[in-house]
């Protein structure tokens, strides 16, 4: 559905994208995660032809992103916290305005989304709260049943209740389309993402399916029969290695029972107990971010 190859983008001296490549499979829910300034929004803007990359190429639905025409855009839903909609129009008026641009606009679906999100059709967009504006963005992005839905930080600044309403409106359609979502709200993403890509300083560090990611990350606590110390030359896949009392702790980013067993075996019988717990996306993200900082 989306393929980006070697994208480079500079803002002044700051390199926002540094040779970024990624592939979003059709039908997937693809999450872009990364710290602030990692390049998530820039990537999405390049894919949507809002920004032009200095180097590299991206295709969206088989079309060069720089040549996205109304035909492709009629199949792409886009919701962003930065979206500027005409403040002095009423919610209903803006929906009326958008409808004719989309051949596949489903008025019944629009009605049910508007009702579910509790959008006040008579209120001016400029008078909506941030949460309401995000809901409005979603209500403008779903009724034409897009093949591709792009969500750029959709949960930013939303309270948990609004997040739930947002997700409840989104999920019934999620199976019918490809979703590209960038967010800091990893707990929300975890429930829906089938693929995850981790960006750092304009580069893609990895992209893989959620199941593979969950399988390879483990939070490991090794209890020793003596005072633990962080090994001077720990394996590269061990992140954030630290010791506390007789417990050695680290995040194994390439977990397999055999590899870990072999590693423990090399500790000369000092290992009393090994506890390798599966990690949530938030923990993985935190571990990766800390290891990058460290």
């Amino acid at each position: 559905m989306i393929r980006a190859e070697n994208l480079w983008k500079k803002f002044g001296r700051h390199e926002a994208l540094r040779g970024l490549s990624l592939t979003v499979p059709e039908g997937s829910s693809y999450a872009l995660i990364g710290a602030n300034g990692a390049g998530k929004t820039t990537t999405i803007r390049v894919l949507m032809n809002i920004l032009e990359a200095e180097r590299g190429q991206a295709t969206v639905m088989g079309m060069d992103s720089r040549r996205l025409s109304p035909r492709e855009l009629a199949q792409i839903g886009y919701v962003s916290e930065n979206q500027e909609m005409p403040a002095s129009l009423r919610v209903g008026e803006y929906l009326d305005y958008l409808r004719p641009f989309y051949a596949g606009w489903d008025r019944d679906l629009e009605g049910s989304i508007v009702r579910h999100l509790g959008l006040p059709l008579e209120r001016r967009i400029g008078h909506l709260s941030h949460g309401m504006r995000m809901k409005m963005g979603l209500a403008c992005a779903l009724p034409f049943r897009p093949r591709l839905l792009i969500l750029d930080e959709p949960f930013s600044g939303l309270d948990p209740l609004v997040r739930d309403e947002f997700m409840e409106s989104l999920l019934p359609q999620a199976d019918e389309m490809t979703v590209l979502i960038s967010s800091h709200e990893l707990s929300e993403i975890e429930g829906m993402a089938s693929h995850v890509a981790y960006l750092d300083e304009g580069k893609l560090l990895f992209e893989e399916s959620m199941s593979d990611l969950s399988a390879r990350f483990r939070e490991v606590h090794v209890t020793l029969d003596r005072e633990a110390a962080a090994p001077g030359r720990a394996p590269a896949e061990w992140l954030n290695v630290r010791a506390s009392g007789n417990v050695l702790m680290f995040v194994d980013s390439l977990f397999s029972e055999e590899r870990l067993g072999a590693a423990m075996g090399s500790m000369n019988g000092a290992v009393r107990n090994v506890d390798a717990k599966p990690m949530g996306l938030r923990s993985i993200f935190t571990a990766l971010a800390r290891s990058r900082k460290g």
Binding site: P70, A74, Q83
Partner: protein, 498 residues
């Protein structure tokens, strides 16, 4: 989708557009309330200018805002991610400007002209032309400029910066040859070239912005277009005048006109010592100017070549004077005191190039000195006797610009006792005279001597009898030929100048 987008913009901007139109409508109302008898210095007259300026500012703001409702520059606009055809977007914005910003102005101009009693053909032509001119020289450049900025603050800031740089440049070049062309009768050639160039820049910017969203490149194009338009001020006078000559309606009409330096006509005079310079008036005689014809001096360029080979170019004191019926004419040349001193001590060669225009009179028209009439070629005029100012004042509502005209005040026997020739030396096509409306005011005073007052040397004595039943005669003069004549004075000496 053009109308669909237009309707959306009307919902967003309709009130502002209506406000701008309302300001203009108020200007029209005040303009129509100006009593011709009251002359120009009435509150209604001044107010219409204020309202005209305000409506112009409002129009500019509306244009900038309607463009920025779907801004091209910036990354957050919702339309960027919608299936909106760029052509539809551009056309809808242009339609808004033409139909909803300039459209009401056009209608109001027509209403004003018709209500003033001017013929519908002349009113429609002047109104359409003014609207086209306003679109080409103001609203479309503002439109293009607005696409380069993300919001009104940015647009206003950038606009002020450009205006400031432009004003500084104008100030720096005020006393150079550049300003002569702009303020002369052929200045319209310069402004037409600048407008054409600006429109080419507008087209390039809109193409780059709406079809490729190349904001940085479009900003460069905008800057270069403005810089090039400003630099056009330095188009040489000779080339511009040659274009004007090619456009003459009767290109050979002035073939028989000769000019010669005639020291015998009157002595050369020196006057107006200003700073380090003195004006020296050089007398000429023109021959071959027929009845019903007048010459207008557009420019005199001169250079002095002294015995030692030193060449000095001289400026004229002013441009665009009408040369009298007698054919006598003085060209006032500005010289430094040093040069005057040298020319008093020894002769030098003086070469002059005279740029001239021949104007021919049209039909005579008459109206009562206290009445009103529709005068062909001018417009709706009203005359009244102002005994306080000792003049017959003629105020005309003119579609387009006021033409050159010869005015007489005639007594009941048809004898003229006041004569005036008024000409602003502007050879632009008549409709190109764009003012604060399509209909402009033109004022002509015909002073007479009445009672014990310090007289105007050009006015004749008049009494109640003469003024009773007096008529105003007017003849419109049209420029028919633009030509040059060279005069060389081999031994120019100022030893007998006074």
């Amino acid at each position: 989708m053009v109308w669909h987008i237009l309707k959306k913009d009307w919902k967003l901007m309709g009130r502002m557009a209506a406000g701008a139109a309302l300001l203009y409508a108020m200007r029209v109302v005040f303009s129509l309330r100006v009593e011709p008898r009251m002359g120009r210095m009435t509150p209604a007259f001044d107010l219409q200018y204020v309202l005209s300026t305000l409506s112009l500012i409002a129009e500019v703001l509306v244009v900038a805002l309607v463009v920025q409702k779907d801004a091209i520059a910036g990354l957050r606009q919702d339309w960027l991610v919608r299936p909106v055809k760029r052509t539809d977007l551009l056309l809808s914005k242009l339609a808004f400007v033409v139909l909803l910003v300039q459209g009401p102005v056009l209608v109001l101009d027509v209403v004003e002209g018709l209500a003033a009693g001017i013929g519908p053909g002349a009113v429609l032509a002047a109104s359409v032309w003014r609207s086209v001119w306003m679109l080409g020289t103001l609203l479309l450049p503002v439109f293009a400029f607005a696409t380069l900025t993300r919001n009104l603050m940015e647009a206003v800031g950038a606009g002020l910066a450009v205006t400031l740089v432009f004003a500084m440049f104008q100030s720096a070049t005020m006393n150079t040859g550049a300003s002569l062309l702009a303020s002369s009768g052929i200045g319209w050639i310069l402004s037409s070239m600048q407008t054409a160039w600006l429109l080419a820049g507008v087209a390039a910017i809109l193409g780059l912005q709406y079809y490729r969203r190349k904001v940085a490149a479009a900003r460069w194009v905008g800057g270069l277009a403005i810089a090039a338009a400003v630099a056009m001020q330095f188009v040489p006078w000779q080339q511009a005048f040659a274009i004007q000559a090619k456009l003459s309606s009767k290109p050979s009409a002035a073939n028989g006109i000769q000019v010669r330096f005639d020291k015998g006509v009157r002595n050369m005079r020196m006057y107006g010592a200003e700073d380090d310079r003195i004006t020296v008036a050089i007398p000429f005689v023109f021959e071959g100017v027929g009845l019903g014809e007048r010459l207008i001096e557009d420019r005199v360029s001169a250079r002095v070549i002294e015995a030692n080979g030193k060449v000095t170019s001289l400026n004229r004191e002013w441009e665009g004077r009408s040369i009298g019926f007698s054919g006598n004419f003085e060209a006032g040349l500005l010289m430094t005191k040093d040069l005057v001193g040298r020319l008093k001590r020894g002769p030098a060669r003086l070469e002059l190039e005279l740029y001239l225009t021949l104007a021919q009179a049209g039909e005579e028209a008459r109206m009562a000195a206290e009445g009103s009439a529709l005068i062909d070629g001018i417009g709706r005029c009203a005359a009244w006797k102002d005994f306080v100012a000792s003049e017959v004042e003629v105020n005309c509502r003119v579609p387009g610009k006021a033409p050159c005209a010869y005015w007489e005040l005639e007594d009941t026997t048809g004898r003229a006792f006041v004569r005036r020739f008024s000409c602003t030396s502007d050879y632009a096509p008549r409709l190109m005279g764009v003012g604060n409306g399509a209909i402009r005011w033109s004022h002509q005073g015909l002073p007479f001597e009445f009672g014990p007052k310090i007289g105007d040397p050009l006015a004749e004595a008049a009494d109640e009898q003469k003024l009773k039943g007096a008529q105003v005669m007017v003849q419109v003069y049209r420029a028919v030929d633009h030509f040059t004549r060279q005069v060389v004075i081999p031994d120019f000496l100022l030893n007998d100048a006074r």
